[in-house]
């Protein structure tokens, strides 16, 4: 398993895009921090800070693409034959890919968090204090809660992307569905909330659980989602496990 993990990491690290993504995210963090310094009227430094200066949305796009391609590229390049004809089972191969993307997602979150702290002290130190009041708690608490919840809902999308990537040989489909899923949430959420209002059971649909990050900051959102923070947390965990498991079962049977 360790060998597979090393192989997957090697492939990811050798991609030029991996380096560029780190650079682009750093530029985004510093760019937004600087913007919030120059245009405080339109960009609230403390609000932007809770999302690592806007970088978490970009991390989501990059990770959806990374998760889709880590599976589908093997089929696209024909390298899956070499990967599968090693000693390892298909399950171990897929799990190693999950773990590498998990590591990658943690790395991107931690990296942008560190950069966000640096950017805060360098550009907007006078605009807010980490111990100042944010949405409900101290800003630093809101920041960590938002990052944690954001990472979890990101994994809800990623688990769905992994499932789709095992169904389709094309990374385009998996990436599109992942990114569309995110936009669909924003578009359909108002309609969904109306439907949940009339059909209570609809609150259990996976899209509703993507609201976890927002509800952590805005507890009043629970009136619309009809779920508590704890329910949202475990719902995310449950759906992630379910999607990953279905993907695993499909991948185990896959002929190459």
């Amino acid at each position: 398993m360790w060998t597979l993990y090393k192989q997957e990491s090697f492939k990811l690290l050798k991609k030029k895009s991996t380096l560029w993504i780190s650079i682009v995210l750093a530029l985004i963090v510093f760019g937004f921090a600087l913007t919030s310094r120059l245009q405080p009227k339109y960009f609230s430094a403390s609000v932007l800070f809770t999302t690592n200066f806007g970088s978490t949305t970009f991390i989501m796009f990059f990770l959806i693409a990374a998760a889709a391609s880590i599976v589908t590229m093997e089929f696209q390049y024909g390298t899956i034959k070499t990967v599968v004809s090693q000693r390892y089972s298909r399950s171990m191969i897929l799990v190693s890919k999950w773990l590498v993307i998990l590591t990658y997602s943690l790395y991107l979150y931690v990296m942008t968090a560190v950069l966000a702290l640096i950017a805060k002290f360098v550009f907007v130190n006078d605009k807010f204090s980490l111990t100042g009041t944010g949405y409900n708690n101290d800003i630093w608490q809101d920041w960590l809660a938002n990052l944690g919840a954001g990472l979890l809902t990101l994994w809800l999308l990623i688990s769905l992307v992994f499932l789709l990537a095992t169904l389709f040989k094309s990374s385009a489909v998996a990436i599109s569905v992942g990114i569309l899923g995110y936009f669909v949430l924003n578009i359909v959420s108002s309609v969904m909330f109306i439907l949940i209002h009339s059909h209570e059971w609809l609150k259990w649909n996976p899209i509703n659980f993507l609201n976890y990050g927002s509800q952590v900051l805005e507890p009043s959102l629970s009136k619309l989602t009809r779920l508590s923070d704890v329910q949202l947390f475990w719902g995310n965990v449950g759906y992630i496990a379910l999607f990953l498991l279905i993907g695993l079962l499909l991948f185990r049977k896959r002929n190459v």
Binding site: F10, K14, K15, K16, K81, S85, R87, N255, V256
Partner: protein, 300 residues
């Protein structure tokens, strides 16, 4: 005989309703080069994929004494393979590919030895995206030879290789065979396979039609003697009257059973005042035998 490195028993495989492999059973003895021969779509690649757990099948595959299944195949550690076309990550260099799949500590030397053997030094450190078909093929072959496998499975290994590279590959295969490595090779370039394979498995429509050795198959072939004379018309007449079987219309081509028939042919001609200016032996090659065999199978 030593225990077979690869044993396949009753392999069946269907795609939907269409059965593509029918009770395939064969074995590969250690240190032998086994040729898998058959028309396009006969099932060569599917057999190889089933052995490598790439595709599901029913039946039993045993490699080096250990059973290997679709879900559980640790013994594939001892197998190297190139199936269909080489799988290449375009953003990695050739050497990165070899590093990626190499196991153990000695791998830097082993990798360099392979690079040298296949003459890949000039481009091994450039990105595979820019490789030609032949370069990719060589890299795929090098990957199959990584980690000192006991069994190497090569599907159409000569694809895209120039004559020089074909010779390098042949030399490498023979050198590894001499070290005890077993090979299962499919190729539609039968003249190339004839230079390599010692044992043959001939398949048609997903069934094994013959399992034999190269020597035995060629032995059973037709032999011909072609003579050039000062008077071909008379020569043909004399020989056919004497009871020889002549083939072809243009040259004086006699089908013989053994090589010693040549002396009799020459004597007959000389007795009849026909002067012989040249004599050539012609043997049917692997291609001829295989085509004949597949033809007779089709007529069944």
């Amino acid at each position: 005989m030593a225990e077979a490195v690869l044993t396949v028993k009753n392999l069946n495989k269907s795609f939907g309703r269409k059965q593509v492999l029918h009770k395939i059973s064969f074995s590969c003895a250690p240190g032998r080069i086994v040729g898998l021969v058959g028309a396009n779509g006969a099932g060569k690649t599917t057999i190889m994929k089933a052995v490598l757990s790439l595709t599901s099948s029913t039946g039993e595959v045993t490699i080096d004494g250990q059973k290997s299944t679709f879900d559980h195949h640790p013994v594939l550690d001892e197998v190297g393979a190139l199936i269909e076309y080489p799988g290449i990550y375009p953003y990695l260099s050739g050497r990165d590919h070899l590093k990626l799949f190499a196991m153990g500590n000695k791998n830097t030397q082993d990798i360099q030895a392979l690079v040298d053997a296949l003459n890949m030094d000039k481009y091994i450190d450039t990105k595979a995206r820019n490789y030609s078909l032949g370069m990719k093929q060589k890299l795929g072959i090098a990957m199959a030879f990584l980690n000192n496998p006991k069994l190497v499975i090569l599907d159409e290994p000569m694809n895209g290789l120039d004559p020089q590279a074909t010779k390098e590959l042949r030399d490498l295969i023979i050198a590894k065979r001499d070290e005890g490595v077993t090979f299962l090779i499919s190729s539609h370039i039968l003249s190339e396979l004839q230079k390599l394979a010692e044992d043959l498995i001939i398949i048609d429509h997903g069934k094994i039609v013959q399992e034999t050795t190269m020597d035995a198959l060629l032995e059973s072939n037709n032999h011909f003697v072609v003579v050039s004379t000062t008077d071909d018309v008379k020569a043909k007449q004399v020989l056919s009257e004497t009871g020889y079987k002549l083939v072809g219309d243009v040259e004086v081509k006699i089908q013989t059973k053994t090589d010693d028939a040549v002396a009799d042919v020459l004597k007959t001609l000389s007795d009849n005042q026909v002067t012989v200016t040249d004599v050539q032996h012609q043997d049917e090659d692997l291609e001829g035998s295989v085509l004949k065999l597949l033809d007779s199978e089709d007529q069944k």
